[in-house]
């Protein structure tokens, strides 16, 4: 048998160099028939010898995709390594030489440090997790906490856009890894873009413009990344749809930022009341609910009807400053002389009902969002829901 194996190898080598089959097998007369049959079988393989050459552009495209995938996987390595380290960690066995008694305080300190390390390690590991990871909810919670502690609009915008970038990267990574893109990611992305725009609207004007420019640039970068991801991602309808929707949301945010740069007042009106945070009063806002004095009373009466001025139901500045208004009544809480106090009948004017739908022209109207039904402009989307703030903003837009 060994002889046959060696003989075959020898004959194969000779035939490969151009020697005839007959001459090659003639060296092994006792094995000639068997060797010939094997060499004939080998010759039949020649029909498979050619494989069509690949076009250079196809090769280059595949190479780009491979390296793109590699970059996405590289970003995941940190979390995997950390988790592995955590998983491999075991309590060290106590050595025989170690004293049996360890003071209680020392044990407590060790336990405390270990708990802290584990929590810290888990939180650190969670930062690179993806939505299908159990650590992802920790990552989102950490982001929520960080957002809550961001007090000034500049910080809020930077954080919201940073988190939105993270959502974009997560989508890219999931798409490339052929994993489904969870709805959670899209909703968070939407919510964070809305939060960034709302936060920008809270800043005074020069700062607001700077922040809007920041939102615009970051959204532009994210949009480009998502376009690229769509090219590189597998052609699965779910994945492509999710990437496309995210790209649209980012494009819309970019458009909103641009509109804010063009018309800051309109932008501010659209967004300033959506965040739920107290609004810094503007001169107009403070004037709106002020109980009319005899001097101020005369002016609105002459123009639009005095009874409208102190009724705050369609002026959101008033609704967020309850110290000025008695809850439920919409009336000033003081006994300061208003239209009623002065004895002026409320219905003196031609139907001055204080509802937004009937909004008669009044001085305050320039600073209130009456122009937008429901107080939300829709952001050009036509959805009627507008760009949301933090209060459920993620679910408002389709």
């Amino acid at each position: 048998m060994v002889k046959l194996v060696e003989a075959l190898d020898n004959v194969l080598a000779r035939v490969a160099t151009g020697e005839s089959l007959e001459n090659s097998v003639a060296r092994y007369p006792s094995l000639a028939v068997e060797l010939t049959g094997l060499i004939r079988a080998r010759e039949q393989l020649s029909v498979l010898s050619s494989a069509p050459a690949l076009p250079a552009d196809a090769l280059a495209a595949r190479r780009r995709q491979f390296l793109y995938t590699a970059r996405a996987y590289k970003r995941q390595t940190t979390s995997v390594n950390l988790l592995r380290r955590l998983g491999a960690w075991t309590w060290p066995e106590r050595r025989a030489s170690q004293p049996a008694f360890v003071p209680v305080l020392a044990r407590a300190v060790i336990a405390f440090v270990l708990v802290l390390s584990l929590v810290g390690g888990t939180v650190a590991a969670a930062q690179s997790s993806l939505p299908d990871s159990p650590l992802y909810s920790i990552k989102l919670s950490v982001e929520d906490v960080r957002s809550k502690f961001a007090r000034d609009p500049s910080q809020q915008v930077t954080l919201a856009m940073t988190f939105a970038s993270k959502r974009t990267r997560e989508m890219e990574q999931l798409a490339i890894a052929h994993r489904p893109i969870s709805n959670v990611v899209s909703l968070r992305l939407q919510s964070q873009l809305d939060a960034a725009l709302s936060a920008a609207a809270q800043a005074p004007e020069p700062e607001m413009l700077r922040l809007l420019e920041q939102v615009r640039l970051m959204a532009q970068t994210q949009e480009r990344a998502l376009s690229q991801a769509q090219v590189n991602a597998p052609r699965e309808p779910g994945t492509q749809d999710a990437l496309r929707q995210a790209e649209q949301a980012i494009a819309q945010a970019q458009q909103q930022a641009e509109s804010g740069l063009t018309d800051p007042d309109a932008f501010r009106n659209r967004y300033r009341h959506q965040q739920g945070a107290p609004v810094q009063p503007t001169p107009e806002a403070t004037a709106t609910p002020r109980p009319p004095t005899p001097t101020t009373l005369a002016q609105p009466t002459a123009t639009t009807g005095a009874t409208v001025t102190p009724r705050p139901s369609h002026t959101p500045q008033v609704t967020v400053t309850p110290q000025r208004i008695q809850a439920g009544t919409g009336q000033p809480p003081t006994s300061a002389p208003g239209p009623q106090a002065t004895g002026t009948p409320q219905q003196t004017g031609p139907g001055p009902q204080p509802t937004a739908g009937q909004g008669a022209p009044e001085p305050q109207a320039t600073d209130t969002p009456e122009g937008y039904p429901g107080g939300k402009p829709g952001g050009g989307s036509g959805s009627g829901g507008g760009i949301g703030g933090n209060n459920g903003g993620g679910t408002r837009r389709p």
């Binding site: 046959l4 194996v5 060696e6 075959l8 190898d9 194969l12 049959g37 094997l38 060499i39 004939r40 079988a41 080998r42 039949q44 393989l45 029909v47 498979l48 010898s49 494989a51 069509p52 690949l54 196809a58 090769l59 595949r62 190479r63 995709q65 491979f66 390296l67 995938t69 590699a70 970059r71 996987y73 590289k74 995941q76 390595t77 995997v80 390594n81 592995r84």
Partner: protein, 181 residues
């Protein structure tokens, strides 16, 4: 440390240059290898792309192979076999000459060639995975016994034995298929 080991060492850290070199070194070889089994350019490319993606996955998860070439060929081989198993009927259908679309003489020659290819592929599929590997790497890719041994992580003597058993099995399989025709 040979070149593959050096590349693998750098690839573990996701060194993009090393990964690019691995791609350059293996994509076309693996493509030709997969094509022998599946006989379709797109499928063969997909198999290689999936093989390389699995390599990245292994590197990410800390499961990097010890022998890069052997690992890549094994994964590509498994994927090609899966693919081949999934489309036996398709292969037979594709042998039907399409008289409406091509010159008759060319079509006849083409279909004969394709018939022969499918017959050899079918015979190849009856071999054990190791035998298939030896046949393709040595007789179609042109590697020496030593190179096949390195790729399969086996000594040269074992490759010679495998080669003998593979050709004997191929001879039997081809004879069996001829009897069926």
């Amino acid at each position: 440390m040979n070149q593959d080991e050096t590349l693998l060492h750098r690839a573990r850290a996701f060194d993009e240059q090393a990964l690019g070199q691995i791609y350059n070194a293996y994509f076309e070889r693996l493509y030709r290898y997969a094509y022998r089994f599946v006989g379709d350019v797109d499928s063969a490319q997909d198999i290689v792309a999936e093989t390389l993606r699995r390599l990245l996955e292994a590197l990410r998860d800390g499961r990097a192979p010890n022998h890069l070439g052997a690992w890549l060929y094994r994964v590509a081989h498994n994927l090609a076999m899966d693919q081949h198993r999934q489309r036996p009927a398709e292969g037979i259908v594709s042998l039907e000459p399409d008289l409406d679309q091509a010159d008759e003489a060319d079509t006849e020659a083409d279909s004969e060639q394709r018939l022969a290819q499918e017959r050899v592929r079918a015979a190849l599929a009856q071999l054990t995975p190791e035998q298939q590997n030896v046949v393709v790497l040595k007789f179609l890719e042109g590697y020496s016994n030593a190179e096949v041994g390195a790729l399969m992580n086996k000594p040269e003597g074992a490759i010679k034995s495998l080669q003998h058993r593979a050709l004997a099995a191929l001879k039997r399989a081809l004879a069996g298929l001829l009897m069926l025709l």
